[in-house]
Amino acid sequence: MSSGKCRQIVGLILLASLACTTLSCSVVSSNELYFGNPVPPKRNILRYVSGDEPASLDPAISDGQPEARLYMALYEGLVEYDAKTLAPRPALAERWHINNDSSEFTFHLRRNGRWSNGDPIDANDFVYSFRRALAKETASHNVSQTLYLKYAQAYNEQQVFVRDPKTGQFLLARDFNESLPPDPLSGTPIDEAKPEYLPDANEPHSDPDTAFHRQMHSPMRLTLPGTEKARTKLLDAAPKLKAAVAGKELVPVKAEDLGVEAVDNYTLRISLHQSGPFFLGLLAHQVFRIVPRKVVEKYGAAWTQPDHIVTCGPFKLKTWIPYDKLVLERDPMYWDAATVKLDELHFYPIIDNHTVMNMYKVGELDAVYNHAVPNPWLHVLKDKKDYMDAVEAAIDYLVMNTTRPPLNDVRVRKAFNLSIDKKAYAAWRQIVKPLTAFTPEGIFAGYPQPKGPAFDPPAARRLLGEAGYPVNQNADGSFSCPTFPVAEVEFIYNTQGANRSVAEWMQAQWKQNLGITVPLRNMEWKTYLEQRSKLQYKGFSRGAWGADYMDPFTFLSLFYIGGRSDTGWLDPKYIAMLDEANRTLDHKKRYELLAKAEAYMLDQQPIIPIDTASVNWLKKPYVKGMYPNAASLFPWKYVYIERDQSKWDFGTPSLAAD
């Protein structure tokens, strides 16, 4: 290439890059109050991005948050999340009462509930939907949310009861496992003298007793694996059990055994196998929203296709073009249609957050989902008046593989925790809050959240020394730990967003304070999940967790039976502490016991808490009735477009209850 040509090209490139820089500066440094000029849409619609294309429109199956928001428009359950506090509010259930140890819940349904095809909704719809969600064939991802229902796990895993053919009596679980906690009130025979419910002035008549109710009110039956192979394995390990089961008949656990009952057409009773003070809040979860039996049975998996779908929420499906848009329109059949303010709700499935930001700026979106603002945009956007600055019921933490040396030593785990300056980390990330516990900071009012130890590098070095890895100070003031087996640890993370810089930040902290350079390894998302869930990683990994309901137990249960923390840490003592807390009727006392359990877990240090997340999203000032609540779940019927500029939001709307 001639030199003249070369110079021309260089000139052109310089010119182009100069133009781009000038342009981007003019865009970025604008002093506008809002990001993009706020102009309300001409029609009464809300255009929203909830994340990726929904996996399914079936609320029982998918467990994602993008889907959860969609289901809140399409389906309703017994209760609905409050727009600000997320506390359970009446939805298809008008009122309810809870027995004295929160193990039995009776709901009175409203009589005007209707499906979008006009059919009435009654208690049988709930019984059907709950049973379906737990059926093995449904293969729901949400089963863990429903396991508190009596015999839910046994039904989902197709287990069997053991019955004595002569007497017709079932073997009881307690007889073979003495460590089981005592049965809750819902599992003890009904005692007329000791009423299970507190007297209620509004409800003078108690709900009718039924044969099923009495059956529920009996001690938990023994259940065994449904397959021959698993059963034989279990019985061979327990000779006493094997002898007791010999000669007895095995009765499969059926849908009818599940702890949910239509007492009459408008009364629903739910029995749990344990105390669940948090359970009412959990009932707003997508898996407890109802699906139309007739349509599901007629069309099978295709029931959610636009031609067939029947819903029960404030909105119904109008058009669905996958990866393009989902348009929902107000459902005139909805029992509270008068409250619904928007005519239409548009969901655009978009994966790329930069694209989301572009669309928001030019006014093609009215609100975006949580965490949609990419890191590099934050320094400009976080000061805008349409930026939602609120704390999220979600935490970021580091997961440690406690099953492999050297991190199987709690002192080593503690040393790595003590040597991270979380305050500096939070300042660097701009929008998060430093965290030393496993429950998010400032979310659960009245919860005496335990505080983990503060940043303390000398203590960390001391602990490492005690564990057999002395840390030496070098002449230049830096540290080194030559005996630490660096080859045995690494930090794995998935290649996405800020994960890389976060991993590098942690690496730098450990290098600076302990003299240990932990190798970093990035991997593709699914590969990373596989390594983490099978405990194939050595050392550290990142973790994030968001609340499913507004109770500390939603975080603490990650280390409970059925939960999976990917750390390999499962401690019977911790589980017993949680059980004890959940059996405690007094709310304050229960919180104290939960906090005690949390403190115990933190002391065992299977994880390193990092931060409480921030909701981090944008909403045009004219979008009202939509609040930056802690789980970014919105009861859509209250959302509206305000055309009077004087009533627009200026800054993050308050979450204080009205």
Binding site: G4, K5, Q8, I9, L12, I13, A16, C20, L23, S24, S26, V27, D52, E53, A55, S56, D58, S62, D63, G64, K136, E137, T138, A139, S140, H141, V143, S144, Q153, N156, E157, A301, T304, Q305, P322, Y323, D324, Y348, I350, I351, D352, H354, T355, N358, M359, K361, V362, E364, E524, K526, T527, L529, E530, Q531, S533, A544, G562, G563, R564, D566
Partner: protein
């Protein structure tokens, strides 16, 4: 000619089967599965899901079922990630989006590229030649994930002339930026190919003959030089068009278009086996057919190919 086409078509079938088998094997080897997510599932739930989708069966049964359904019924099955949506319906729905963008982009690239390339060749070593080839070089060098956002920044976020993203049917203003982003690199390639082809042809004997027999310069260029000079462009068109028709990951992602490329990348990230196989097979078929079409076009444009 007919025999040639039939023979080529027959070779296509085993090629596709090999492609499908390899894809199937690679997916099985990849770590992770379609149902894993940040929220861990219990072993029992995992079992339920595996059973529902037949993943608990031995590998040869799974392979046999997949192949039988594809060969016997041309049915690629149902997506694992998108509950209840058949792969065939996803391809049917997303192909028109990708094809619209792809064909428009290539048409634009052909018009601009051939014009610019021809001018550059006819005015070789002039400032027109240098300027156009410099711009072409720039077009080739700037990747579309850089160009796309820059175009959005200028024309959507600053000037507010066109929408920054999303599909809005054909025709619509939403098409302008993705088509432009996609076509620039092809435009540049075609311009360079045309220029090189034309230069070669313009110096050949038959052009001299054409000139000698007194044809006007216009006739020489359009009827003789261009026809010969476009041969490299034609052979480039086959794979390029196949690639464009079946979707382009980056552009579809930046502009949030519901095309095949978008599905392809999501399917791979989601480990959505039937969808991956369906799209790979579809791309393979398109690519093979396009190459066949190019060979046929060659035969029409260049008599020497026909007589061999």
């Amino acid at each position: 000619m007919l025999r040639f086409i039939v023979r080529r078509l027959l070779i296509t079938i085993p090629t596709i089967l090999v492609v499908i088998t390899l894809t199937w094997g690679l997916i099985k080897l990849a770590p992770g599965n379609f149902y894993s997510g940040e929220r861990p599932l219990s072993a029992a739930v995992e079992n339920n899901i595996r059973e529902k989708y037949g993943l608990d069966k031995p590998w040869y049964q799974q392979y046999g079922k997949t192949m039988w359904s594809i060969i016997g019924r041309l049915d690629f099955g149902t997506s694992l990630r998108y509950e209840g949506q058949s792969v065939n319906s996803i391809i049917r729905r997303s192909l028109p989006v990708s094809a619209t963008i792809g064909i428009l982009a290539y048409a634009l690239a052909l018009v601009v590229g051939i014009t610019v390339g021809s001018i550059a060749a006819l005015k070789q070593n002039s400032k027109w030649d240098y300027a156009s080839m410099a711009v072409a070089m720039l077009g080739i060098s700037v990747p579309n994930f850089v160009l796309g956002p820059i175009l959005v920044l200028i024309f959507s976020l600053t000037l507010y002339w066109v929408p920054p993203s999303r599909w809005n049917g054909f025709p619509s203003r939403n098409l302008i930026l993705p088509v432009l982003t996609l076509s620039v690199v092809y435009m540049a390639y075609i311009a360079r190919l045309t220029r090189a082809g034309m230069l070669e042809v313009l110096g050949s004997d038959y052009i001299r003959t054409a000139r000698a027999k007194g044809l006007s310069e216009k006739d020489v260029v359009i009827r003789h030089a261009l026809r010969g000079g476009l041969m490299p462009v034609i052979s480039y068109t086959g794979p390029a068009l196949a690639f464009l028709l079946t979707g382009t990951v980056v552009v579809e992602r930046i502009f949030a278009l519901p095309g095949l490329g978008n599905y392809f990348i999501q399917a791979s990230l989601n480990r959505d086996e039937p969808l991956i196989i369906g799209i790979v097979a579809f791309i393979a078929i398109t690519l093979l057919l396009m190459n066949l079409l190019v060979d046929i076009a060659y035969a029409f444009l260049d008599p020497r190919v026909r007589y061999q």
